[in-house]
Symmetry: C2
Subunit: 89 residues, 2 copies
C-alpha cells in the first residue's frame, strides 16, 4: 500500500485593516502630560524683550517658549506650523 503524504498544513491568518486618521492623533506627546489641559498665561506687561516667540508645535524644549523645534517637525512631516510672536510694539 502506498503511504500517502499529508498535505502541509496551511494556516492563513486573517488580515486586519489598519485605518490611520491624522485627525485622531494627539498633537502633544511629551509636554506636561500630567496636566489635564496645558494652558499658559502671559502677563504682557511683564514681557521684557521687544519680541518673544511662543510655541504652537508642542515640540519645544523650552515650552511655552519657541526654541525653533518647529523647523525640524515641519521638515520631518511636511507640516507648516510656526510660533506666535509677541511684539512690544
Amino acid at each position: 500500500v502506498l503511504g500517502l503524504k499529508q498535505s502541509p498544513r496551511c494556516t492563513v491568518r486573517p488580515r486586519r485593516m489598519v485605518v490611520v486618521r491624522a485627525e485622531g492623533q494627539t498633537i502633544n506627546s511629551e509636554i506636561r502630560k500630567n496636566e489635564e489641559k496645558v494652558v499658559d498665561a502671559v502677563v504682557i506687561t511683564e514681557l521684557s524683550k521687544p519680541l518673544t516667540a511662543y510655541c504652537r508645535c508642542w515640540r519645544s524644549g523650552t515650552f511655552p517658549l519657541c526654541d525653533g523645534s518647529h523647523v525640524k517637525h515641519n521638515k520631518a512631516t511636511g507640516d507648516n506650523v510656526g510660533p506666535l510672536l509677541l511684539k512690544k510694539q
Copy 2:
C-alpha cells in the same frame, strides 16, 4: 496506477509591519496650508481685552485666536492641549 491528488495551492501573503508614529504626523491639516510656515504676530499694545486666548491646537475656526475647539480635539484623541492666554495685567 493511483492518481495522486495535487495538494491545494496555499498562498500565504507576507505580512506587512505597520508602524504608526505620532511624531511623524502633521499637527495642522487645515489652516493656511498655502503658507510655508504659519507665523502670527501680536502687537501687545494693541490688545483691547483684558484676556485674549490664542490657539495652539490648530483646530480653531478663528485661528490664531482660540474658539474652544481644543476641547473637542482633546476629547476625541485623549490629548491635553490648550491655548496661550495673553493677560493685560
